[in-house]
């Protein structure tokens, strides 16, 4: 991934190429200099249902951000907007184009073919010649310590292995931004631990062949995982951002209560 990254700009349902940004080494919510992902006044409506409203968000290069909130609060919708899978009804979205991003879903989809071919397919779909894609798939599998499974049928892998494979497939694409939608939600504790360890390794590190560190945004219900992985937590309620704090501050009940009583109530409920 080159340092200068073209941005796609979505505004009220229109798409245009935006300006380039220089990735900073690290950013905090307070600094908010040259964000890589930026949402201004974003709203998403599905008929009469409002999934997101008035969302303003700035995420810098290399950040690892967790989205938390109850079911139906808008986490997945927000990730889909960031990935360009969903156009907002209102507001502006300035993000790298979808081909500079990768997204992991709760249940990853694997084609009915080998592990290596599944990774190569992702690369091929983004324009890499097939022979080169196969070679790079091998490197990605080594990165996630699954090289010995390269010729196995991907559908035959366990849930945890499939999610690790999905991470390898995403990592091989050298994305500037990695979005993860509850990647460990349907896994057993052992698989959860494996996937989480891998996320920790990849977070803030450059993806395959990329120079700047990868930005990671993940949705999770697992507060322990949020605490271990994220440097910043965004709490959503009924489609609104109610709290956007560094992880330490989010888990400090007094600070959280002062910033967002709703988020404090949520945290209290989850910790009980």
């Amino acid at each position: 991934m080159k340092a200068d990254l073209p941005l796609a700009c979505l505004s009220g349902g229109t798409l245009a190429q935006g300006s380039a940004v220089q990735p900073a080494a690290t950013t905090s919510p307070q600094e908010r200099i040259q964000p890589l992902l930026e949402l201004r006044g974003v709203a998403v409506r599905f008929g009469a249902v409002t999934a997101l409203q008035d969302v303003d968000l700035h995420i810098g290069p290399g950040e690892c951000v967790a989205l938390v909130g109850a079911n139906g609060c808008g986490k997945t919708t927000l990730l889909r907007v960031l990935h360009g899978l969903l156009r907002p009804s209102l507001g502006e979205v300035q993000v790298p184009p979808p081909r500079a991003q990768a997204m992991l879903f709760q249940r990853p989809y694997m084609m009915r073919t080998t592990v290596a071919r599944n990774i190569a397919l992702g690369l091929w779909l983004r324009g890499t010649p097939w022979a080169e894609a196969r070679a790079r798939a091998g490197a990605a599998l080594e990165r996630v310590q699954m090289a010995q499974l390269a010729e196995r049928n991907a559908r035959g892998l366990s849930g945890g292995q499939q999610q690790r494979l999905a991470l390898a497939r995403a990592w091989a694409l050298a994305p500037a931004v990695l979005l993860l939608d509850e990647p460990t939600a349907s896994l057993d504790p052992h698989a959860k631990h494996e996937v989480e360890s891998l996320m920790a390794e990849l977070s803030g590190a450059p993806a395959a062949g990329a120079t700047p560190p990868m930005t990671m945004v993940f949705a999770s219900h697992n507060l322990g995982q949020v605490k271990r992985l994220a440097r910043r937590v965004i709490y959503l309620e009924q489609g609104r951002v109610c709290a956007d704090l560094p992880t330490d501050a989010f888990f400090d009940r007094a600070t959280l209560r002062a910033v967002s009583p709703e988020a404090d109530l949520f945290l209290k409920g989850e910790l009980l």
Binding site: R80, H83, L85, P98, R99, A102, M103, F105, P108, Y109, M111, R112, L121, G122, L125, R126, G127, Q148, L149, R152, N153, R155, G156, L157, S158, Q161, R169, L173
Partner: protein, 246 residues
């Protein structure tokens, strides 16, 4: 009762002794239906894949039309193709009436909507579950549908099988456009109808046995492919578990 068992015994004898009349009809019948089915699958798979992922004005109308054509009576198709191919019809110049090609065309018209509708259903279901993930990887709409079609190839194999079953067992259309000419356009179903009306039950029964046998064989083949695939996947899983445990 004796007539029934005698007829069956004679029919089995005709089948086993490779009776030339019977087997020439069987070969022709299989050739017509296999050609029609192959052409229909090519058209229907592409059309179904496209319909599964494309939204356009009038899509609902097209779907209604498609679903209605699933119940097309074969004699009506035969009649329409007859009118099209008859000397005074718009395609009369082709000179296809009462030929192999006319029978293939009629069976294609019968079978293509079936392949299209079932393919659309299979791919649309897969797309609603996994399409977003393929789009996320960078697959455009049509490429996505082709990838899903490849991934659902075993389900589509069953669609092809159903299409062949419909083609090989229909009688009305091929009777009208083929004319049931001995040695040229006589196929299993038209021969069964004719021989029954003539009272030659052994030949009709023999053809019926072969017809059922063909369908049974196809089913068994598809079942075997599935079983082989499941065994292979199962072996891969077991090996994977062993490898990981080690």
């Amino acid at each position: 009762m004796n007539t029934f068992f005698d007829s069956i015994a004679t029919a089995l004898e005709l089948v086993v002794s490779l009776d030339p009349t019977l087997w020439s009809i069987v070969r022709r019948s299989l050739a017509v239906s296999a050609t029609a089915c192959a052409l229909s699958c090519m058209l229907g798979l592409l059309a179904g894949a496209w319909l599964a992922v494309t939204q356009f004005r009038g899509r609902r109308f097209v779907m209604t039309l498609l679903n209605t054509s699933l119940a097309l009576p074969s004699v009506v198709v035969g009649l329409v193709v007859y009118l099209l191919l008859s000397r005074s019809g718009p395609l009369g110049g082709l000179g296809w009436l009462f030929t192999f090609k006319a029978m293939v065309l009629a069976q294609m018209i019968l079978v293509t909507p079936l392949v299209t509708a079932l393919t659309r259903q299979v791919i649309e279901d897969a797309d609603s579950q996994h399409g977003e993930q393929l789009a996320s990887l960078g697959a455009g709409r049509f490429l996505r549908s082709l990838l899903l079609a490849w991934d659902e190839r075993y389900a589509l194999l069953t669609v092809g099988m159903a299409a062949f079953g419909r083609a090989v067992s229909e009688v009305g259309a091929v009777m009208i456009v083929g004319g049931n000419i001995e040695g040229f356009t006589r196929v299993m179903t038209t021969a069964i109808a004719l021989e029954t009306s003539k009272g030659d039950l052994p030949l009709a029964l023999g053809l019926g046995i072969v017809l059922l046998g063909v369908v049974l064989l196809l089913n068994a083949l598809i079942g075997a492919v599935r079983a082989w695939r499941e065994r292979r996947d199962g072996a891969a899983n077991a090996a994977t578990r062993g490898l990981v445990a080690a």
